[in-house]
Symmetry: C2
Subunit: 216 residues, 2 copies
């Protein structure tokens, strides 16, 4: 690994998980070697972009020979820290929070829900799946004790900013936010928003234009 590893642009970091996804798929299909052109086609990215992105992490490909898929996916997983388990906590154990705890996609990828918190005293002490629901007041201690690096926020919108600020004060540096708000956090904390309504609303404009044209 080159020393310059800390200087990797954020846009590259954001693309790498998709590289890992596609390379894993190729590996599962039995592909052993892939050119930057073929990989670019799969990802809708130019071959030059692929070569530049990967150059931040060392020399993976041999000129004119393509990349060894299995080796490359292993290296990228290591770069991204996907070679270890990450403990997570879900905050807000309503319908959405339960669906998140139930979500079958997290565990196989190394994301384990080890704690659950809710503000409702009637919920606290109950067990959901393998996880005991704790009060918000227990957050700080549990996050430290269970080495929780990532918080998943599923509380209603009006409570979300307050909960996120509390998580920040507990030292959490990575938050997956399902509440429909745009949270404010310090610069060293990362938030990713999962917001299906917002995603739908970015598509309706085009549907509307089409509908209006058809109707006129």
């Amino acid at each position: 690994m080159p020393d310059s590893i800390h200087a990797i642009p954020e846009v590259v970091i954001l693309r790498l998980p998709l590289y890992v996804r596609v390379l894993t798929q190729l590996k599962d299909e039995g592909t052993e070697v892939i050119s930057s052109r073929e990989l670019g086609d799969r990802l809708s990215v130019t071959p030059a972009q692929i070569r530049k992105d990967l150059s931040y992490f060392g020399r993976f490909g041999k000129q004119g020979r393509g990349y060894n898929v299995s080796y490359l996916v292993g290296e990228l997983r290591q770069v991204l820290g996907l070679d270890r388990q990450w403990n997570t906590a879900v905050i807000g154990i309503g319908r959405l929070g339960r669906a998140i705890i139930n979500y079958p996609g997290f565990a196989p990828e190394g994301f384990k829900v080890v704690a659950a918190f809710d503000a409702d005293p009637a919920q606290v002490g109950r067990q959901f799946e393998d996880v005991a629901i704790q009060s918000i007041g227990e957050m700080q201690q549990t996050i430290r004790e269970r080495n929780i690096a990532i918080a998943i926020v599923a509380v209603p919108a009006p409570q979300a900013q307050r909960v996120i600020s509390e998580l920040v004060s507990c030292g959490v540096k990575a938050i997956l936010n399902y509440a429909p708000i745009a949270p404010q956090v310090p610069e060293d904390v990362r938030v990713r928003n999962i917001d299906p309504v917002l995603a739908l609303q970015t598509m309706t404009y085009h549907l509307k234009v089409r509908q209006d044209e058809a109707g006129s």
Copy 2:
């Protein structure tokens, strides 16, 4: 509305739902007028960007007076086609598909799940919530009859591209994809991917760097 409305850059369209979200919040809080500076602060966008984005849709603000929140949110909702109901279908009625049908955030925003499809014959004919589960073979007819504009895909990854291609051939132009793949669609079809694992994987790099530094 100016004639140039078809020339709105896609990046602006992508930002507008967030404007609507924040303006709605301001309206609910009782704010009547807001400057581009204050709105920019809320959205982490420059005031110049706000003014430029909104200029595509007409003259909303008076020089030095700020924007009328209630009027602006109404106009933007109309621009985005959020002033009507959009019928949607969910494909794949497993654990994830059921959570999506159950998701309380869609209906209040005008997105109504009116149909559900699954490949499993044991599921077909069953009722889930208000929706009867139909076979994939019935998709084309139901999409036409029920005026379904948006498809929500919740099938396992290996089936997702085939299902998405079928939806495209049924004339669907907007797809919300929950399967962990990067789907290929024609240019006139829009896909938004909801992918919490990918979102988590964009944050672990920074956590890993921090962990490695603390450990060394």
